[in-house]
């Protein structure tokens, strides 16, 4: 049996290098220790392996990888819904959304935040990882003012900022992907690796779209996004009770829109009003609606049918 001190060093090294992964140094360090006889060849290999498999959770997904995952999630959403062709509204939504994002917990993101209106009466809003955000014509028609729309956009930005989409990727999937990726710097993947990576990529997209469109996120993520949204719009100067005003329009809804989209994937409007209301109550004096904001909102949505 190996002395306890030696085992301690191995564990200590594994933990330390786990926090500070750098292949070349780990290799040098473990080789030095192996040379002194402090650790065995197999322990040295274990340490190197620890450093190589350091990426293991959604938080280890790199900003650029998140962007590429988001692009394909967006392409899948756009395969289900047509885009509303309305350049003025698209510009307004992007101006409002990009302005709102500046007050979020993650104002800067790999390729910036982008917003698109889907041509459907379904009431829904969807955020792909990487900051590509979709909202439906049906949802916009339910909003009465800019402040309500801002808080809905902020809710979606909140999902992106907290990486809720990435959190719906199965852990085993990530472990497989990170193992396949390894740590060796390469210019391009070999064809067989691309085939395996593409299969994992496809399954990853399935996990995200399943949560986003079909099952909905865990309820706690929805409440978290609501809380993030009311706080960030308050920082911006909007009236955060725009959220509860909007949700109120969905209470007792018996229209064809109910049972789909947000109705299916979110907690009930009553539950969300109660939760968000508690947060809003603690905010003191709220900003008032401003005619100039409501007027430009009405102008932007005037052509919606």
């Amino acid at each position: 049996m190996r002395p306890a001190g030696s085992r301690f060093i191995v564990v200590f090294l594994a933990a330390a290098f786990g926090a500070l992964a750098a292949c070349s140094v780990i290799e040098q360090g473990t080789d030095v220790l192996k040379g002194t006889g402090t650790i065995s060849a197999s322990q040295a290999d274990m340490l190197k392996k620890t450093s190589e498999t350091i990426r293991s959770t959604f938080g280890d997904i790199k900003e650029e990888e998140e962007y590429y995952i988001g692009r394909s999630v967006a392409a899948l959403i756009l395969a289900r819904y047509p885009v509303l062709q309305n350049a003025a509204l698209t510009r307004y939504i992007n101006t409002l959304g990009q302005a709102t994002a500046l007050f979020s917990d993650r104002p800067e993101i790999f390729a910036g935040y982008h917003f698109l209106v889907l041509d459907t009466d379904e009431i829904n809003a969807l955020a792909a990882p990487g900051g590509m955000i979709f909202l439906t014509k049906g949802l916009i028609k339910r909003c009465r003012d800019e402040d309500a729309l801002a808080v809905i956009l902020a809710h979606e930005i909140g999902h992106v900022a907290a990486k809720h989409g990435l959190q719906s990727i199965k852990k085993s999937r990530l472990v497989d992907a990170f193992q396949l990726l390894g740590t060796t710097a390469i210019k391009a993947y070999a064809p067989d690796t691309v085939v395996k990576l593409t299969a994992l990529f496809e399954d990853t997209l399935g996990d995200i779209v399943g949560s986003l469109v079909e099952r909905g996120y865990d309820r706690k993520y929805e409440y978290e996004a609501d809380e993030m949204s009311v706080k960030s719009v308050l920082r911006a100067g909007f009236d955060p009770s725009g959220l509860t005003r909007f949700l109120q329009t969905m209470v007792g809804d018996k229209s064809t829109a109910s049972g789909k989209g947000w109705f299916k994937t979110h907690p009930t409007p009553e539950q969300r009003i109660a939760k968000a209301g508690e947060t809003i109550k603690t905010m003191g004096t709220l900003p008032q609606l401003l005619d100039a904001r409501t007027a430009r909102f009405r102008q932007a949505v005037a052509g919606l049918k």
């Binding site: 060093i9 790199k62 392409a75 756009l78 590509m132 496809e202 911006a236 100067g237």
Partner: protein, 161 residues
């Protein structure tokens, strides 16, 4: 015990060197951003930045990081655009390189990247990536966003706060 002491010394020295190097530098993790004169999004831009640019970290305040570029420009970048590299070995080898090395660039593009997207796209011709590309092209100039906020009396620009 002598071997153990020596091992601890080696491990400790390694960690100290790594931590010392990691503490002072940050790397841009988004496509493009800028060094600004003051810690505000609409402050004047004093240096453009792109993914992989390495900066010396001076201080941090309310989500903004004060940095120094390789050319000596000192200003502010929002923390959400930056990451702290776990290790700065490449910088250490050449006394603070500011351009990402070839291997770093290759590493940055690893994982789910354009090559994987292209392969996925080839399997799914029905997906509308052209619509995604045109969505990503909509970028509102900073001056327009600032004007939008001002007219809406938002963001402290119009006095609502």
């Amino acid at each position: 015990m002598t071997i153990h002491r020596r091992s601890f010394f080696i491990v400790g020295a390694l960690l100290l060197v790594l931590l010392a190097m990691a503490a002072d530098f940050v790397v841009v993790k988004i496509q493009v951003t800028a060094v600004r004169k003051t810690p505000q999004f609409f402050a004047p831009v004093i240096a453009p930045l792109k993914a992989g640019d390495r900066l010396e970290k001076i201080s941090e305040s309310n989500g903004w990081v004060q940095v120094k570029t390789v050319t000596g420009v000192i200003g502010w970048v929002h923390s959400s655009a930056l990451e702290t590299p776990k290790i700065n070995l490449l910088a250490a080898n050449s006394t603070m390189k500011t351009q990402a090395s070839a291997s770093e660039v290759a590493l940055a593009g690893k994982g789910f990247n354009k090559q994987v997207e292209d392969s996925y796209k080839a399997k799914h011709g029905e997906l509308n990536f052209a619509a995604v590309d045109s969505m990503l092209q909509v970028k509102i100039p900073a001056a327009e966003i600032e004007n939008f906020l001002r007219k809406g009396r938002l963001g402290g620009l119009g006095g609502v706060k």
